[in-house]
Amino acid sequence: MNLRRGLRQPGATLTRRRLLVCLTLAFGAFAARTRAETKSKMARVGIVTPFTADPGPEDAYWRMLRQGLQERGWEEGKTIAFEHRHVGNFARLPSAVNEMIALEVDVMLTAGAPAALAAKGATDRIPIVFWADDPVGRGIVASLALPRGNATGIARQGPETYAKRIELLRQLSAGVSRVAIIDNPVLATPLALRQQRIPRGIDVFDVHIRAAEDLSSGFAVIAQRGVDAVLVGDTVTTWLLRTEILEGLTKARLPAVFGDVPWLALGGLITYGPNNLVLMRQVVIFIDKILRGAKPADLPVEQPMQFDLGINLTTAKTLGISIPRELLLRADRIVE
């Protein structure tokens, strides 16, 4: 039989075979290249913070970050690498950011508004995941729902709890009528406080601390003004000077309220603020999504869902303060 189109025609067979060979080779080359690319192209996360090289208790957060990413399939040293720049000084943030840009990291994680702003000012290409208070007010993002630009992250809402913290001091002791806020004015967080409703009958004033040398004068003012209690602000400066601040407070025998839980372990009396570990889970999701191709502009800024109240009963005892039943009931963490 004379086939009009014979499959077994020698020419056809040759062409088909050649095509098959070409396809196989092409696929092989593609697969090899992809593998090579995966191998050579390791995802790199740059971490820029103003903290000191020794992160201390923050270690828990970094561990959580690594673990979270590992759970999402990123293996450190194989598919993901971390570049750390803990500069310990705001002035060095821009150079740290530039180093990250030079390293061509795939995503930059910044702690605090200054680091976020430094990164934002240096690149509009490398995605930034920030961890900052009031990112809209600071101009890091356009809005929480639609960040636009190359940055997204966590709006920590620390200063938004300052009034609440003062209220806690009041609930701790009805006699509290004058509260000092120790914070770095450069970072402008007290401004947010000004816009908030302060519990009635409480006199609040700022003690500005830009560096360690401001502390002695600050505590002198506190002693001078007859302060009943102290609110330690959430800026990086207070954390960098944590030992000195806690020493001063102990010396002055003043009850104080802090934002982040780590203060509790160091001897802080009360902490009230967002649960950072829950937020860190969100940071992990952000980094994972961005490394898998998501655009920061499409990822709304996350706000904390959970605010934890921590009480250090040992410190309370030292200060001779009895914690009211309501506070004990509401406390999420108690150090005894």
């Binding site: 809005s143 929480l144 729902a145 639609l146 809402q157 938004e160 709890t161 009034a163 609440k164 209220e167 409703r197 519990p199 999701i285 999504k289 499409d298 990822l299 709304p300 800024v301 996350e302 706000q303 869902m305 959970q306 605010f307 039943r325 309501e326 009931l329 509401r330």
Partner: protein, 603 residues
């Protein structure tokens, strides 16, 4: 015969087609039915998932509602109690339900007794008026109030839940619930590997999704066809499973279940490719089984066709052998059916043919023997006749001639006339005998020709001299037109003269007085042609075919004047030379006899 398509091919085609059609039809029908059924089951499963997801979301809200109900109970007696205790109760509520961002305790008259918030400042006895607030109004009516979903800072979804008011004096708790907490519930619902569950509010806004970013972006899904379908039929029993495009235009199998109390819809979606994967796997399996079945059918068809065709081939081969004359051949078919009977019939036919042939050959042998005997008798008769008849006939002719010449005395006229008759009749009889002898010699192949060159005009003259007297008597003119180039001819001269004489005698015989006869010769290629024409009575066309037969004479011819063998002998002699004789004539128009004699080239 060269078969275009053998029986095997035909049978294979028939069997395979038959089996394949049945197999394919049944498989397709089965696939169609099972596809529809499986599809339905998948849809039902998806709906069940949606219902289960809706139940989980509903349970989350109910849990909050239950806490509200529990917290209001002890407060009933505390309406007149301390404000601190009231706030404490609210704090407890916040402690128990993390999703509640803030809570207010309202007196039955709508005034705020206490307020507790996670972010804002607490309040005691602010007396704020809630009477116009829909949450208060609904809760006052005795039912739990679920407000519309609203987005704080245009990003986080919140829901107002108010409960209480079981009695006219009971307090009311109004809470703001952060719906981001549903994320935990929604992301725990597993829908295959790439599927997901999500929740939309009555306006079509996404309020819970495993990808929280979509919720925080305040994604409006009201344009999706499945959302439109859900919002159109939000009855509690509504359960639709449909294929639609999701937010990213990916084709998904989607089902929803409403949460009537909240006006929400819980959707469960799975990419069509994944949802229908088991279905496709079944189809593939059926397809492979079908292909396997078809191959088996083809194989079985080939075997069956071969089995059926084998005895037919044996029959064909056997019939061919018999047809070719091998009548001893016997066809061996052992199938126990009609084919075996047919083979038997063939064998019987071959046997009968064989027997008939054997009889026929015997008869032929017998007849041949008879013929040989007859031939011998004929030869003997002719030999006897030539000897026994010619001897007395020569005596009759010789002595009648002596008498006629009156050598032994004068005869009276009557005696002279009778002696003349005796002499003529004797000569006639002798020539008859000679002609019979010649004819029988030619027929027996014993006539030998003496082929040699001779003078053709002399031979013609010789023959003419023998009939000239008779022609003169009838005043017949004889015209001779010989080809001047033809002097010598090569043939048996005696037989040539015999042929020509015969034709001339006939011409004289059948030409009336004062007629004419013409003799002509010519060369035609490698032969000479000699013709004798007359102006005689002619021969009718129907008689022209028989005039060369032995003892054949034309009607009306004087029988005494010829033996009826002359023309037959002449023709045979011409043919013995390798030539041919023909006649052209018409009644009343005379006749022209022409004969040709081939001439050897060497002469």
């Amino acid at each position: 015969m060269n078969l275009r398509r053998g029986l095997v091919v035909k049978y294979v085609a028939y069997f395979a087609t038959l089996v394949s059609v049945v197999l394919v039809a049944s498989s397709l029908l089965g696939m169609y039915l099972s596809y529809g059924k499986d599809r339905q089951i998948l849809g039902q499963l998806q709906q069940e998932r949606a219902r289960s997801a809706a139940l989980q979301i509903e349970r989350f809200i109910q849990e909050i509602e239950r806490h509200l109900a529990r917290s209001t109970l002890p407060l009933i007696d505390m309406l007149t109690g301390s404000r601190e205790e009231q706030r404490f109760e609210l704090s407890k509520l916040l402690r128990q339900v993390p999703a509640i961002a803030d809570a207010a305790l309202l007196a039955p008259d709508g005034s705020e007794l206490a307020y507790v918030s996670r972010l804002g400042l607490d309040a005691e006895g602010s007396g704020k008026d809630w009477t116009s607030d829909p949450a208060f109004v609904a809760a006052r009516g005795g039912s739990t109030h679920f407000g519309a979903v609203h987005f704080r800072k245009e990003t986080e979804p919140y829901l107002t839940i108010a409960a209480g008011g079981r009695s006219k004096v009971g307090p009311i708790v109004v809470t703001e619930v952060n719906l981001k907490f549903i994320w935990d519930v929604v992301s725990r619902i597993e829908v295959g590997t790439a599927g997901r569950a999500y929740v939309i509010d009555s306006n079509g806004y996404l309020i819970a999704h495993p990808d929280i970013s979509l919720v925080l972006r305040k994604t409006d899904l009201s344009a999706l066809s499945q959302v439109r379908a859900a919002r159109m039929d939000s009855s509690a029993n509504a359960a639709i499973s449909m294929v639609a495009d999701d937010r990213t235009s990916r084709s998904v199998l989607t089902s929803f279940a409403p949460i009537p109390a909240l006006g929400w819809f819980v959707f469960v979606e799975q990419p069509v490719a994944e949802a229908l994967a088991p279905l496709y796997a079944t189809l593939w399996r059926t397809g492979w089984l079908l292909i396997g079945g078809l191959l088996l059918a083809l194989l079985a068809s080939v075997l069956l066709a071969r089995h059926v065709v084998q005895p037919i081939r044996a029959l064909q081969k056997g019939a061919g052998e018999i047809g070719a004359g091998n009548l001893d051949h016997r066809i061996a078919v052992d199938t126990g059916d009609e084919l075996e009977v047919l083979a038997g019939e063939f064998n019987r036919m071959a046997a009968q043919l064989h027997a008939s042939y054997a009889g026929l050959e015997a008869k032929v042998d017998e007849r041949t023997r008879d013929l040989a005997v007859a031939n011998r008798h004929k030869s003997e008769f002719l030999a006897a006749m030539s000897h026994e008849l010619r001897t007395p006939l020569n005596a009759i002719i010789g002595f009648s001639d002596v008498l006629k010449r009156q050598m032994y005395g004068v005869l009276n006229p009557k005696q002279a006339k009778y002696a003349e008759v005796i002499n003529t009749s004797g000569k006639h009889l002798l020539s008859l005998i000679n002609e019979i002898l010649d004819l029988s010699k030619v027929e027996a192949g014993k006539m030998e020709l003496d082929i040699s060159p001779f003078n053709l005009p002399a031979a013609v003259d010789n023959a003419l001299a023998l009939i000239r007297d008779r022609a003169d008597i009838k005043s017949i003119a004889v015209d001779v037109r010989l080809d001047s180039r033809l002097d010598i001819a090569v043939a048996d001269e005696r037989r040539f003269r015999q042929i020509l004489l015969n034709l001339l005698s006939n011409a004289v015989k059948f030409t009336p007085e004062k007629g004419s006869i013409a003799v002509a010769s010519t060369r035609l290629g490698n032969a000479i042609e000699v013709s004798v024409s007359d102006t005689g009575i002619g021969i009718a066309p129907e008689d022209q075919a028989t005039i060369f037969d032995e003892f054949s004479q034309l009607n009306g011819a004087q029988r005494s004047e010829g033996t009826g063998l002359g023309l037959a002998l002449a023709k045979k002699l011409v043919e013995l030379h390798g030539g041919a004789m023909r006649v052209e004539s018409a009644v009343g128009k005379g006749a022209k006899f022409t004969f040709s004699l081939p001439q050897p080239e060497t002469y």
